[in-house]
Symmetry: C2
Subunit: 261 residues, 2 copies
């Protein structure tokens, strides 16, 4: 196989530009998996949604690049060596692979446990929550608007590609979630996590099929959620205002898993 002077495999990597590359916007049709790990996840879980794959000329070629090129070949995608894509799309230095994909909009599974995020505002936090959810075997995430964009490349990256294994759906209001076909309200338990709650996490088992509900990073859930199901507090010392949001979600998931072994 012919190598160029950087050790790259010329005949595996397209040198021609296949179209323009634009900074991600919330209303874009496509988004980007930044980095090799999330791009592999994308190709595995949503091959049909993958449009283009960009690789950086500085990417050290080896087993990982061979594997990427093999998968792309099988899908009929020609990876493009196009450094411009990285300067446009990625602020991080250690990003050498980018997967471009059409956004997807799965429905939630009403038979399963859900995480409900009411007005989450931080993309890094959302990514961490997605990764943690996948770690605890929860696949369904409802986001009540306004909420940070799950397809923001920062979220996709922070999720380490977990977003491609989950069902994430947006709702205009909690009522819309509650009364729609995604929820399966009948027989479902609801646990809003609130500092004003009276039930302490761990004092009683969490139902196997439930919705674990969390508020915004700065403001938490509105008081109206005290009337939704059984509100829960994760007890902590009064030396901090609150646990951070991903931490609260992770601890709740750990306890849910413990309750349902």
């Amino acid at each position: 196989m012919e190598k160029n002077n950087k050790g790259n495999y010329k005949n595996q990597v397209g040198q021609s530009a296949s179209g323009s590359i634009k900074t991600y916007k919330k209303d874009s049709e496509v988004s980007y998996a930044l980095g090799a790990a999330p791009t592999f996840e994308l190709l595995k879980k949503y091959p049909q949604q993958t449009r283009r794959v960009f690789v950086h000329s500085d990417w050290e070629r080896g087993a990982a690049s061979e594997e990427l090129f093999r998968i792309c070949r099988n899908l009929g995608i020609e990876p493009e060596e196009r450094n411009k894509a990285f300067s446009v799309l990625s602020q991080k230095e250690n990003c050498f692979v980018i997967g471009e994909f059409e956004k997807f909009y799965p429905a939630l599974d009403p038979s399963k446990t859900h995480i409900v995020l009411v007005n989450p505002s931080n993309s890094g936090n959302l990514g961490t929550i997605l990764r943690t959810a996948l770690g605890f075997g929860i696949y369904d995430i409802a986001i009540i608007r306004p909420g940070v964009d799950v397809f923001d490349p920062k979220t996709v990256r922070a999720s380490m590609g977990a977003v491609f294994s989950l069902r994430v759906k947006y709702f205009d209001s909690f009522d819309e979630y509650l009364t729609g076909s995604d929820c399966g309200m009948e027989g479902r338990s609801f646990y809003p996590f609130m500092l004003k709650a009276t039930m302490e996490l761990g004092s009683a088992p969490l139902a196997q099929r439930c919705s674990l509900i969390f508020g915004n990073e700065a403001t938490g859930l509105p008081d109206s959620f005290l009337n939704v199901g059984e509100s829960v507090i994760i007890r902590h010392s009064n030396e901090i205002d609150s646990l951070n949001l991903p931490m609260a979600v992770g601890i709740a998931l750990y306890e849910w898993k413990r309750s349902n072994r």
Copy 2:
């Protein structure tokens, strides 16, 4: 009280420069609490270590600024309105108060439970861990070098000032921690958290006085820790490589707290 055209209280805020302001370096004698909340924590917990307080001219004056000026006055510190400090020290836009402090080096309390971080590399993660530790009533943190700088302003900020309520101490090796007077090895239980461990978190109670030991974000703990005390795993699905570090620490602390109610 005379106000200037921005509504600021001239006679509370020094306009003269008290000395130079330099970008933070690891070997600096001083560091910085970026933001009002961590600066209040600094002034409360380490008033004697506080050297200077900077406020931005855009800071909206009200109850918070009055309180800050009152505390500073009591300590004989004159807050300086000096926007240059913010352009030099802070990358964030929403930072209007900075507290400059001399670094401090407390010993650990050998009678208490410790968190031991072996080679932590991310300042944001360390800050989140500190905040969570304070939330679960753990005050003693050992860091095994090489490890990220706890006085990095990014860490101080991510901890939301929790660093000023904790005892954080660096050791050149785990052995140095183990055999020194900070540890109090006699009667202490050791729990290294490792993917190769056999004991699952939650399957047995954690000792009241113990050391919860965590490895580097990317590499975890070396295998040698399998011989230290009783190694523990936080069970998760094989769809993720691992929980992120602050998450693992937070879940461990939650379980420790549950074990010792």
